[in-house]
Symmetry: C2
Subunit: 361 residues, 2 copies
């Protein structure tokens, strides 16, 4: 269980300028790009010893990163204010730059991890309204680095970036990784008879989101509820699990970012298989969410089945294989019946996708 990063007393500083004049209220409009970079760079990498894969760091037109086995794994992910986070939530909690930086690290690291790979570097593009506090940007850099280190990816360097102005705050991160000479684990390899397993958590970030959107002040919440908010604001994907699963012989794997059902359906479709999830195992996943669901009068199953953003890892393993540390069996892979399409079932019955979709409502 992660320690809660949600502060006990003061909410983190808002990125929007309130009282001009002081260092704390200095906005990005008050600095040139090079002045802003000069404040960010010292917070990033810690030299060639700490980041041996970074052959040429920020400062030129492009960076150069080692790709020891002649391949680079690559992914990109964007967070936009009021879509992926709110600067101030309904329950009074303010998302800090640190939160956004941490989450950027977490969600990108998770994509590389889900291939069974190891992250080597990332590049960051930050789009900011001119009134964004410089301290918010510094917090962002600190949160990004803390996320890399705290999640076990201290080797992953910030190779470069781009700072720009926009009306809304947004951050795009592209991340590179290495498979260290091994085969990747794809979504398409699940075979009938395989065990379906989960590493990390599901539903906690969705429960945290529900608490953030609720009317009850975050200050009134107990430690357990704050930890759920923390999973939403600073997720902790199980980064060791990806390469461990690959080594153990996982047949398919993916990051759960849009919910167990939606992402499970994607893995099932890629593998032309049915993932039959075990009702008892799912019920067990709802147990830690019961206090929050009682508080909010919500069905915790919806969080477990539809909630993304914990960045748990869904994988399939050959039957009878001892699951690697961190994985729990939650079902089995079946061949679709002749008239049936690939997808997720629960206890043998088709489950509808209820995960988040960015466009269709």
């Amino acid at each position: 269980m992660p320690e809660s990063a949600v502060p006990e007393s003061a909410a983190p500083e808002s990125p929007v300028s309130e009282t001009p004049g002081s260092e704390a209220a200095l906005t990005v409009a008050g600095l040139s790009e090079s002045e802003l970079l000069a404040r960010i760079f010292p917070r990033l990498n810690r030299g060639p010893e700490a980041n041996p894969t970074l052959l040429l760091g920020p400062g030129d037109d492009a960076a150069i990163v080692a790709a020891p086995d002649g391949r680079t794994v690559v992914s990109i992910d964007t967070q936009v204010v009021d879509q992926d986070f709110r600067l101030e939530w309904n329950n009074g909690y303010r998302t800090s730059g640190y939160d956004v930086g941490w989450k950027a690290a977490a969600q990108n690291l998770s994509d590389i991890n889900a291939m069974g790979a190891r992250s080597t570097s990332l590049v960051v593009s930050l789009t900011m309204p001119p009134e964004t506090h410089v301290s918010w940007v510094e917090d962002f850099a600190d949160g990004l680095m803390a996320g890399l280190r705290g999640l076990g990816a201290a080797d992953c360097a910030v190779a470069g970036g781009d700072l720009g102005r926009g009306r809304e705050l947004a951050v795009s991160v592209a991340i590179l990784g290495t498979l260290d000479g091994q085969d990747p684990v794809l979504r398409s390899g699940a075979r009938p008879g395989d065990t379906v397993a989960l590493a990390g958590t599901v539903g906690r970030a969705a429960a945290g989101l529900a608490l953030l959107e609720a009317a009850t002040s975050f200050r009134a919440l107990g430690r357990e509820q704050r930890a759920l908010m923390d999973t939403q604001c600073r997720p902790r994907p199980p980064l060791a699990a990806g390469p461990l699963a690959r080594e153990a012989g996982a047949t398919a794997m993916m990051d759960i970012s849009d919910g167990l059902l939606r992402d499970g359906n994607r893995l099932a479709a890629a593998s032309q298989a049915v993932l039959n999830l075990d009702a008892a195992a799912l019920k067990e996943l709802t147990a830690p969410l019961l206090p929050a669901s009682e508080l909010l009068g919500t069905d915790p199953a919806a969080w477990v089945l539809g909630g993304g953003e914990d960045h748990g890892l869904l994988a399939t393993f050959p039957a009878g294989l001892r699951l690697p540390p961190g994985f729990t069996a939650i079902g089995s892979v079946e061949a679709p019946a002749p008239t049936e399409s690939a997808g997720v079932k629960i206890a043998g019955r088709p489950a509808d996708a209820v995960g988040w979709d960015h466009f269709a409502d």
Copy 2:
């Protein structure tokens, strides 16, 4: 001289919905993410023969790209509406999705080129208001691919991406490249006595921007002025020049994206040198801009010295070396005098940076 891509008659379709109901007015809010992806994917890569470096394409948690010499060159760049382009300009021209896609390709390819490297793949994150036309997104994909092919980077594959919603249209592209076993050309290698040379153009995109922002309808402009607008909307960086310069022994190189003076100062600072630009050579660069400058009553020297976005290539070569095709000598590198700092001079006199800065006004 590039052929003008600015249409003669009808302006490209606006991304904002006007008449609902028809296919042309279909917006991204009307499609799920997978439906939208299904419209984009067929417009992208053309299979393993066309893109041999793309080992695993879009559709999994991350893509896999070949890095033949064990290194990957990487950069990221973002365009945001009303910062980097306008959907409708003052002169009536409407930026199409095709324009934005082309420009995304061009500016990112140029960063890899400026290292003396070759682009192998890119990942794209597109943030869109829900009312964005699906046809605009399709145009964007077409423009991106046309940019890759039209600029000589047909090998460069779209490895993956991210689609998301936001209040303002923005596109982030991270691009990967290979040095094919060669050393990169950095900003820091210029030595006293070297020749300063330019490939591609400077000032054209700035002149085009001035025309776009002017009151005169773009329909009233002649072919030459439209070609300047085209350099702003669909820049054509000299992609062959980067690897040629590296092979020829360029000592330093960079992409001119923020203006000859500003970027020249960066190269000079990285090399601890003075770039002494030749006044006659600069004057020659202003010549093709005279008709536009007369039309607008503007000093063309400001465009040549301060205008970015043509993505010309600034490089230094050992004295006496025959410049590679596409490069023109525009000055020479000198050691700073004892009391002098590194920077750009014109005909021996310090030049002030007048290039665009994203934050300081």
